[in-house]
Amino acid sequence: MTALPLAQLRALEVGGGPAAAFCGRLLALYGAQVVRVEPPQGDPLRRAEAPSPGQSGPLFLYLNAGKLGITLDLDRADGVHLFRRLAAQADLVVEDLGPGEMDRRGLGYPSLAALNGGLVYVAISPFGEEGPYAGFRACDLVLYALGGYMYITGEEEREPLQGPPYLPSYLAGAYAFVGALLALWHRHSGGGGQKVEVTELESLAASHQWTQTLFNYSGTVQRRQGNRYYFSHPNSVYACRDGYLSLSVATEDQFERLCLLLGRPELRQDPRFASNAARCAHAQALDEAIAPWFLARSRQEAVAAAQELRIPAAPVLSLPEVLAHPHLEEQGFWQEVAGPQGLLRLPGPPFRLGAPPGPLAPAPALGQHNDEVYGRWLGLSPRQRQRLHQAGVI
């Protein structure tokens, strides 16, 4: 089995939020040695959702498993100097401190590139360094609203609704990961390093199915419509005996098989349901006709029967059900990591390449790898390290 493809690479990660950490997680999953650089008191991500002060929260523990952790005060000259020394021998820097934060400290791309021409510098921010919103404050809700996802999500007669937590940041982290790989490919082709910039807003804005294009092509503004999907029906969520399932009928063949499944061949002949456009126009009537079949069955029965006829359907799962998902279990999808009360399950890599994923090292404790990184990478003696520690730099 060959080594993981990024095994030779070193990355420094300086994070204010989940985006850089998610990008770093992906780099680490494919072999890079990722060092998370935290201020001596720990970074805000560590405290997010923490069950009690002083403990690390699940967000930090999830995103930083498999990484090394060092402390470094980037607000002091000594700290900046040390970071520059680390960056001089790193392949990647990934940061989401916000526009100008690294530059202000003399750690922006131009200054680091002067030290290390091959450096790939990945900057993630909500809105970017330029543009009318550059100085705006962001959070999930704001990103969903400005990214166009909120308006199209929720019930027609109610207020627009935000999506799952952290998704805008994770998505930006995933795009940034691709950007980092493209920059590494270019470097491997004989080019130097470069800066990769990704924003959370543009990541969402580029991840619409047709929201902007509908408007640009025909002036159509997509409305939110509960669980129904734009111009496809029956594509919605239906109540079962023990919860809900999602059904997505997109083709005439699938609708024909659905009528067969439901034992309702006459629906196929009904002019109200004769085409996708007609079914969208009469979605309510169609839902009333098909809902009882689902309500009389469990999710599992209904999904299995639909799949038997190759009709796209899946259960709406709770988080405990996701953790116990039989297919993911059988695939060996989960990656185990040691936790305070035993082994914990983390999602496995989104794809496998090279060595199969082994158990991950747990997220680093504060400053856990100071000796390793400052000692082995930079060659600082124990005395020098102790002095930095006493001065509060690390």
Partner: protein
């Protein structure tokens, strides 16, 4: 088409993908310079004729008109397939498969998002592709993966979203599930597919070995709920969705503004932002009110705060309210609809949108590329190809077929520029 630039110049990708996840994956590769050849069945873009009523009602066609060649005028297809070439080929017939394998021999990667039985049924599994080119990279984006008990199940993103746990983390606070307005697991899988392709090509450079990489769309999506799964294991509970509220930010919500269906989203994350909100509302008294002095107090009195905020937003333009709050340091946003998003001044100032001219569909603006590389940026060389537009370039130029052979393939219906 203008000459390709970008880091992936010289990389050739055969694109068998359809709909959203796969085309988004290969769009990233094409934007960065790969020569992406879409290999399409003549029927893959739908029928030769589209009813005018459908074109009008769906909004997918320019000005609602299907036009002479509706298969080249669909906005969604054109949005996803810029910078790519189109070759029509019927892979169900031996001659089509033979030509495809000859292309594999001169390509670097093949990307597909069929259900797992399709390629093997066509006799085009990884082993067969490797016979054509030993170090080929095959990237598959199946719904559930190529192994495991559900591997044969069929699902779209609208299904995988509910199965991956994303739906469990959102919704109005009434316990009923609510899906996102667009199937987000498609772009998630597409972006991961682009990463898989580049990473497999990098590895091939290091080792000389190709690979079959599978991106399970379900598995990729579960990576987006990892923190919640860990919280469940550590704390023993999974928090119920709070609508637009937040477990440690308050007030937070979506408030009606002046006009029909216009909304403002705002979120107060700390005391400073709370003071900013009070200042923007012109209510210094609230900042002094002991009930709202701490996060916990504000969280407990959210209903009252919501009523106060609505009283302010109702008469305001959403964009003006956003500007006022942001200037006061409060995270706030107008809730943009599709028209707002397409016209957004920030995205335009950053040149996020690109304007492309299509001979059959006209000139339109499209979302650009969120990955910005300083030295080797994405380029936008052409709009989506017309069906079979590059048959001649690929078959004659790359494979050396004669004019007669091309005519015969066209007469046999194996290639063509119109749906059957």
């Amino acid at each position: 088409m203008a000459e390709a630039k970008g880091p992936l110049r010289g990389v050739r990708v055969l694109d068998l993908t359809r709909v959203w996840s796969g085309p988004l994956c290969t769009r990233i590769l094409a934007d960065f310079g790969a020569e992406v050849i879409k290999v399409e069945h003549r029927a893959s873009r739908g029928p030769a004729a589209v009813p005018a009523s459908y074109a009008r009602a769906s909004g997918f066609y320019p000005q609602g008109e299907p036009g002479q060649r509706p298969w080249n005028r669909h906005g969604f297809f054109n949005e996803m397939n810029r910078n790519k070439l189109s070759l029509t080929l019927d892979l169900a017939c031996p001659e089509g498969r033979g030509l495809f394998l000859r292309l594999v021999a001169i390509s670097d990667a093949v990307v597909e998002n069929f259900s797992p039985r399709v390629l093997p049924n066509l006799g085009l599994d990884y082993g067969r592709l490797r016979q054509a080119r030993e170090d080929i990279v095959l990237v598959s984006l199946p719904a559930y993966g190529l192994e495991g008990p559900y591997r044969q199940r069929v699902a779209y993103g609208t299904n995988l979203e509910t199965e991956a746990g994303l739906t469990a983390l959102m919704g109005y606070a009434d316990g009923r599930p609510q899906r996102l307005g667009a199937a987000i697991t498609d772009p998630i899988a597409g972006v991961m597919g682009a990463a898989a392709t580049v990473l497999a090509l990098l590895r091939r450079r290091q080792t000389g070995q190709g690979a079959h990489v599978e991106v399970s769309q379900l598995g990729a999506a579960v990576n987006f709920v990892g923190q919640a799964l860990l919280a469940l294991q550590l704390l023993g509970t999974a928090p119920a969705p709070l609508g637009n509220r937040h477990p440690w930010r308050a007030p937070q919500g979506c408030y009606p503004c002046r006009g029909h269906d216009r909304w403002l989203a705002l979120s107060v994350g700390d005391d400073r932002q709370w003071e900013g909100l009070c200042a923007a509302l012109g209510r210094p008294d609230l900042a002094r009110d002991a009930r709202f002095a701490t996060f916990l107090g504000r969280w407990q009195h959210q209903d009252e705060l919501d009523a106060i905020i609505v009283g302010w937003t109702r008469g305001l333009d959403a964009h003006e309210a956003m500007q006022a709050l942001q200037q006061a340091g409060v995270p706030a946003a107008a809730v943009l609809d599709g028209a707002d998003l397409a016209r957004d001044e920030h995205l335009h100032a950053r040149r996020f949108y690109v304007s492309l001219r299509h001979p059959d569909a006209g000139t339109h603006s499209y979302p650009g590329q969120p990955i910005r590389l300083g030295r080797t940026p994405a380029t936008f060389r052409s709009d989506a190809p017309a069906l079979g537009e590059h048959n001649r370039y690929v078959l004659q130029g790359l494979l050396g077929l004669s004019e007669e052979e091309l005519e015969r393939l066209e007469a046999a219906g194996i290639i063509g520029q119109r749906p059957p």
